[in-house]
Homo-oligomer: 212 residues x 2
DNA sequence: CCAGCAATACCTACCAGTAGGTATTTTTTT
DNA sequence: AAAAAAATACCTACTGGTAGGTATTGCTGG
C-alpha cells in the first residue's frame, strides 16, 4: 500500500498540531498540507488532489459545510472526514446527505481518529453509531446528572433546544401539539430555575452545557 | 534548571494531544497529567501541585473561570496559562483580574505557546498585546470580508456581541453612552440585514461566524 | 395508598424586542 | 468639496417574551 495524501483543515493551530502528531505515526499517510480556513483549503485541495480531507466544520469565513459541498462537487476522488465539536443529529444527517465519508466528534480519542481514517481510506464510511448519538444527547448518566444539577425536566430541555433553534413559543406549541400557554409556563420555569432573564442567557447556558 | 511540572486541561482530546506534542519537545517541562473537565483538573492539581496549569476556558460542567479562581485561591504556587477560543477584551480583563499569569488564543502558533510557557515559568506574565487584540477582532482581512459579505458595520457587530452577552437594549445603551432608541435602530438593522427574526437566530449567526 | 413531581393549561400584566418610517450629524470615500 | 455610508436619534405600533399566581391531570416512588 502506498502513501495516501491527506489534507487537514482547522482554524485552530493547536488542533492541527494535535491531529498531525497523531497521524504522523501512521506510515501509510502523508499529510501534504494544512489549511486554517476554507479559502486556503480549497486552494490546497485543487493543487494537491488529496485522497482525504479532514475538515473542521467550525471555521471562520466560508464554513465547513460549504467546503464539503464544493469538494464533493469538484473533486469526486477526494474523501472527507468531518470533525466537529457538537453532536446534533440533524447536523450528522446533513453531513451524511452531503456524502462525506465520515463524521467524528472532536473529543474523540486518538485511536478513534486513526480508526476512522483507516476505514475511510479503505473505502468505507465512519459515522457515530446512532445509539451513541442518542446516549450522549438523552439518556446518559451525565444527562441525568445534568438534569438533577439544574432541577430541569426532560420536557424543559426539549423546549430549551427548540428555543435555541429560533423557534417561537407559538411554533413550539404547534410542533408539540400543546397550548401556547403551556409552553409559556415551561419557558418561565426554565428561566426561573436557571436564574436567567432572556433567550440570550438561555442560549449561552445551552451552549456551555453542550445541549446544542 | 530542573523540570517543571505542568498540567493540561481541555475537553478536546485532540487539542490535548496537540499541546502535548508541542510541549514534549521542551526538555525542561514534564507534563504530569491531563484533565478533560474541571472536576478532574481540581483533583489532579491537588495531588500534583504543579508549577503550571494550562487551562481551557471552554470546558463543560464547571467552567474554566471557576477553576482558575479555585486554583488561585487554594494553590498560590501554581501558575495558570489560560487558553481560549475567543478574543473578547472583557474576558481578557476578567482573567487578568483573577491573576492568571497568561492568556493565549487557541489558534496561536506552537512557537507562541512555548514562548508563553517559558515566560511564565521564568516568573513573567504573557498576555496578548492590546493592539493584537484589536487587530484580530477588528481589523483583520477576514473581518472586513465578513462585514462586506453581510453588509454589516463595526458598530453593528459590536452590538451583536453585546446582545449575545445577554445584555438588554437598555444595558447596551448605558454602556455605550447612547440612546436606547439608537440601539433599537441598530438591532433592527441587524435583523433586517441578516434576515433573522429574533435573538436566538442572531446568536446562532454569531456562533456560526465566530463572533463570540 | 398517598405524596410529590411532571406536564398540562388558564388569566392577567408588563416589559423588551421587533418593526415601520424619518431625520440629523458625523465620518469616510471619491 | 461633494457624495456616500455610518452612527445617532425620535415617534409609533405591535408582538412576543417575561412574570405572577393558580389549578388539574397523570405518573411514580416510598
Amino acid at each position: 500500500m502506498k502513501c495516501s495524501k491527506v489534507v487537514l483543515a482547522d482554524d485552530h493551530q493547536f488542533l492541527l498540531e494535535g491531529i498531525l502528531s497523531i497521524l504522523k505515526e501512521e506510515p501509510d499517510l502523508e499529510i501534504v498540507a494544512t489549511a486554517l480556513n476554507g479559502i486556503e483549503l480549497m486552494d490546497v485541495v485543487a493543487k494537491q488532489k488529496p485522497q482525504l480531507v479532514i475538515l473542521d466544520l467550525n471555521m471562520p469565513g466560508y464554513d465547513g459545510l460549504q467546503c464539503l459541498q464544493k469538494i464533493k462537487a469538484d473533486f469526486t476522488e477526494t474523501k472527507v472526514l468531518v470533525l466537529t465539536n457538537y453532536i446534533q443529529p440533524e447536523l450528522v444527517e446533513e453531513v451524511r446527505k452531503m456524502k462525506a465519508e465520515g463524521y467524528l466528534i472532536k473529543n474523540s480519542s486518538a485511536a478513534e481518529l486513526k480508526e476512522a481514517v483507516k476505514t475511510i481510506l479503505a473505502g468505507g464510511v465512519s459515522y457515530p453509531a446512532s445509539d451513541e448519538l442518542k446516549s450522549i444527547s438523552d439518556d446518559s448518566y451525565f444527562f441525568d446528572e445534568f438534569l438533577k444539577k439544574y432541577q430541569l425536566t426532560k420536557r424543559e430541555v426539549q423546549i430549551i433546544r427548540m428555543v435555541c433553534q429560533e423557534k417561537s413559543t407559538k411554533q413550539i406549541a404547534a410542533e408539540l401539539f400543546l397550548s401556547e400557554l403551556t409552553i409559556n409556563t415551561h419557558r418561565r420555569n426554565i428561566l426561573r430555575k436557571l436564574e436567567l432573564n432572556n433567550v440570550a442567557g438561555l442560549m449561552n447556558f445551552a451552549r456551555e452545557n453542550q445541549l446544542l
